[in-house]
């Protein structure tokens, strides 16, 4: 079995008297791209906040095995007072003090995320897709073990969303990371992930964990994609 980087044992979370997450048992392996789907308001973002250490579980235990996490948000996670270059640089490891090394690393990430020519732009001067690429560059620049993606492409138009999925996969191929990706888009989940976890409505539980065929950025016609999509729709009671 692959090395676990995140392990949730009986994790529960309540906001006051409202139970949001109820008894999660989940293991995320190193290098895995885990997709989480579920109905609106089921606690997907709360799950990421727990995994990222921004919230503490009210029950159960999360073992991060010493791994560091960074979250990419749907929109608005970039610092608007910093340029694209400065935003990406803010993601670098603080222990790197040599300015030349820092500049070179930032230049690499800008190139990988195709943002070199927009390095001096501010986030509000970019399109939604470009802003998400900056977020990706900043999150990856820090050599973080686990990326937590909170519906990162949901505010984008269909074409940009598809392009961004391919770019995410190619970036992860160049710089492998463990990813937990929350989405409400079933097509996105089955085309991108190594595994899909289907959540119930609040209080959220894991309804099913579904392994997907090997390969990422699948096409709708690829083997197993339609079947997986159908299985998830059935789990969510949408057929």
């Amino acid at each position: 079995m692959s090395q676990p980087v995140l392990e949730l044992s009986g994790v529960g979370f309540e906001y006051g008297k409202v139970s949001v997450i109820d008894g999660f048992d989940l293991t995320v392996s190193r290098g895995e791209l885990l997709m989480c789907v579920g109905p609106s308001g089921c606690g997907k973002s709360t799950l990421l906040a727990l995994l990222g250490g921004h919230l503490a579980p009210t029950r159960g235990k999360i073992d991060r095995h010493g791994s560091s996490t960074r979250t990419i948000y749907q929109d608005g996670g970039l610092f608007p007072w910093l340029t694209v270059r400065e935003n990406v640089a803010s993601g670098l490891d603080r222990k790197i003090l040599d300015e030349q090394v820092r500049d070179r690393k930032v230049a690499d990430w800008l190139e990988l995320t195709q943002l070199t020519e927009f390095a001096q732009h501010y986030p509000h001067q970019l399109s939604g897709g470009m802003r998400q690429r900056v977020e990706l560059g900043r999150a990856l620049a820090g050599e973080t073990d686990v990326l937590l993606l909170d519906e990162p492409f949901s505010a984008l138009d269909y074409q940009t969303r598809r392009k961004m999925r391919r770019e995410l996969v190619s970036t992860l191929a160049a710089r492998p990371r463990t990813v937990v990706f929350v989405t409400h888009d079933i097509e996105e989940a089955v085309q991108l992930g190594d595994r899909v976890v289907v959540l119930t409505a609040r209080p959220s539980k894991i309804r099913r964990s579904l392994d997907l065929p090997p390969g990422r950025a699948r096409l709708p016609a690829d083997p197993g994609v339609a079947e997986a999509e159908q299985a998830i729709l059935e789990e969510l009671g949408l057929t």
Binding site: G52, T69, R70, T71, F79
Partner: protein, 251 residues
């Protein structure tokens, strides 16, 4: 750019012409409004005697001191109020209470507590600045999106780094707008304070002119006050164009 200079210059010439024509036509009772020529002579004599530059320096010193003191005491308190619900609930009604009081109402106390000279004027300018800036800072800092702090945690920023690299840059556009309003109010207050609490400055020039029925000096002081008010506002308008702040005004 040229239009932005020429249009106000043109309306200024029109106003000057209207004033001159009205004066020449005897529209004003004798001694109530000076002629433009008399005001020009008043400017010349005040500048030649060095009194006008001294008065400008005195007023700018007081506003500079009181305003900076107001800002450096208000911003930290505003930040604390934004973070602590208890502090906010305890202080907000009183901040609003004192903010509603005109600083001019404090003149009797200012003179009793600080005597005559710079301190009472500086105290009044501090009052004019402090309560406005506290409120603006608290509102701006409370409105900083939580996502910035989550990102800052992910990036491993320390508490002081979060303050200087997240909170302050995030509130800067709103804070600059508040500072721009506050400098205008403080400038009005310095003139009022100098009419009563000191014997120098542009407020004193106007008041002294009024005492001597020298309306040319009064208008000379008024024109200087208005011009410096425009210049102070321009400084803050220029600050809003700084690249790292402009995002708040461009969106």
């Amino acid at each position: 750019m040229l239009r932005r200079l020429l249009l106000p210059a043109f309306t200024g010439v029109l106003l000057l012409a209207a004033w001159w024509i009205a004066f020449a036509a005897g529209a004003f009772p004798v001694g109530t409004v000076p002629s433009p020529e008399a005001v020009a002579w008043a400017f010349r004599s005040e500048i030649e005697a060095g009194r006008l530059p001294d008065d400008i320096i005195a007023s700018l010193y007081r506003i500079g001191f009181g305003y900076v003191l107001g800002v450096i005491t208000a911003v930290p308190l505003g930040l604390v109020m934004a973070r602590s619900v208890m502090t906010r609930e305890a202080l907000m009604p009183w901040i609003n209470f004192f903010r509603s009081l005109s600083p001019i109402a404090w003149i009797p106390f200012a003179i009793l507590w600080f005597g005559i000279g710079d301190p009472p004027a500086i105290f009044l300018i501090w009052l004019a600045t402090f309560f406005q800036v506290v409120l603006a800072t608290a509102a701006a800092a409370a409105g900083v999106p939580k996502v910035y702090y989550r990102v800052a945690e992910d990036l491993g920023l320390s508490s002081s780094a979060i303050l200087f690299r997240v909170t302050l840059p995030a509130i800067m556009p709103q804070l600059l707008t508040a500072l721009r309003v506050a400098i205008g109010v403080a400038w009005m207050v310095v003139v009022a304070a100098e009419m009563i609490a000191v014997r120098s400055g542009l407020g004193w020039l106007i008041w002294d002119g009024r005492n001597g029925l020298r309306m040319d000096l009064v208008v000379c002081g008024m024109i200087t006050v208005g011009t410096i008010g425009i210049l102070l506002d321009l400084v803050f308008a220029r600050l809003a164009r700084i690249r790292s702040v402009r995002w708040g005004f461009d969106r």
